[in-house]
Amino acid sequence: MATATRPAPAATTTPPRSVVTRAAAAVAGLAVAVVLVVAPLVSSPYINFQLASIMVFAVALLGLNVIMGYTGQVSLGQSAFLGLGAYITAYGVLNDWPIALSLLLSAVVPAAVGMLVALAAARLRGLALAMITLALPIIGVPLARRFDGFTGGSQGQVVSWLRAPESLGLANDQWRYYVVAVIALVAFLLVRNLVRGRIGRSFAIVKENEAVALSMGVSPYRTKVLAFTIASALGGLSGFMYLAVVQYTSPETLVFATSINLVAAMVIGGSASIVGTALGALYYVLVPVLAGQVNSSRTALISGAVLLAVLFVLPAGLVSLPRRLARRRSARRGTRTAPHDTADDAATPTSTDGSAPAVPAPAATTTDQHP
């Protein structure tokens, strides 16, 4: 054995999450859960509306993250599925379907549409695929106008539904919040499980390298179709939730601009990250509100600047903030001389080094871990 010349790894090592971090995560999770359960009981309808909206777009972003963040296929069409889901739900409500049926179909029909599109397009990659997804909202808007018997045309449809059952003593906004929160919770749990195991690894390798995927028994085509189907289903589901919260749908619901904003929010939150998805939704809903607080007639300027600023500070998304802070702290503690400014000298850092925030904080030295 080559012990004499074996390197002692200088590399940083992330051990499986330590007990401490796990406990911290559990406590944080519990705290968030408590807040999410209690908040609507003590907040105004406006706050509840915002919280519920966050749930709605979190699910839309979750779908987008499955296809784009985890599987690496750019999708510019998520708004089309959101709109489709909302229309199906509206149709169901107006035709007195049981709510469970609306819920089911609001996910299944978009999933089927998404799957059909993917069956045709999943052989493509990169921008060609992006182009095809882009066409969905572009074509969807005039289609929605055309079939006004189903959609209510350009006027849209007001759908007043999902009133709180008398027995619960909840106001409508609270009840609607809990409904969408439960749906969002279930969706998040399922997707979290999915992306952690076998299927998640197949998504990741399709994103990274299709040739390797093939050699490991992963069909990139099927994987993309699967991811796209899931993304569409979640998009549709978020449409159901949208209708529950907004109580109105129109062609404006599925415009292309919404897709673009969703993509931005997904990246801002943190691509390929469950927590990041939730943070992205927070961003999506709250930044326009904040911009309005600052100056309503300069919202574009403000939200553009905020978007850029966040990207500058956290290129890996809001989800990297704790890691970023931890690194800051450890860097301050460390004795190393300050590295020279690489941001200014773009050619200097290596590519792996360039995405600096993605590098985890150094754990304890691991030099003695091998024989």
Binding site: A2, P7, H340, V359
Partner: protein, 236 residues
Amino acid sequence: MSLLELDGVSASYGHADVLHGVSFVLPDNGATGLLGANGAGKTTTLRAISGMVRTTGRIVFDGRDITGLGPDRTAALGIAHVPEGRGTLGQLSVRENLLVGAYRRRDRKQIAVDVDYCLDLFPNLRERVGSNAAALSGGEQQMLAVARAFMAKPRVMLLDEASLGLAPSTARRVYDAVVRLRREAQVAMVVVEQNANLAFSVVDDATVLETGRVALQGSSAELLGMDAVRRAYLGG
């Protein structure tokens, strides 16, 4: 006169410190080797020289402190780095790759001559001169990476496992060409090479790295005289 001098060079990726005070001197027209196990820091040393990692310490090239200069700047000064693995421009043709290699040069006619020289040296490349570099076989890409460095007419070449994936005869040919370049064009070189036989056939002296530190330094003959070195690198 020393052409290149490393003095207490340390380097890090993000927050992982990888090199710790590496020093060596490369004389004008010299050839020095870097040896070490996987992960010892050979590649990182070369990257430090050409400015691809964060570096502290002092790197002096031709009397000028180049610590912290980016790779385009060091390349412009005459340092040609043949990187580890695929160092080619995949969607450009073989010929275009060679022309990019000669980017800094103005001597049009001589460039054409040199392209021809490279294609002669590597007949495989001549056969595929119009195809995208990404289509080439692993070894052919390696040849192209070396040829591209030749095209730059550098003053010093940093060869990171230049024989990686090359057939024995081709590997030999590459190093013959390198030696010729050294003789004819006074090109100095730093050689990282797992194939120690090849390495020792071209270098005058060598540095052995272990976990980012200099473990041994000496002339080829001295090093070859050491049992530990022979065992680890030559199996003899």
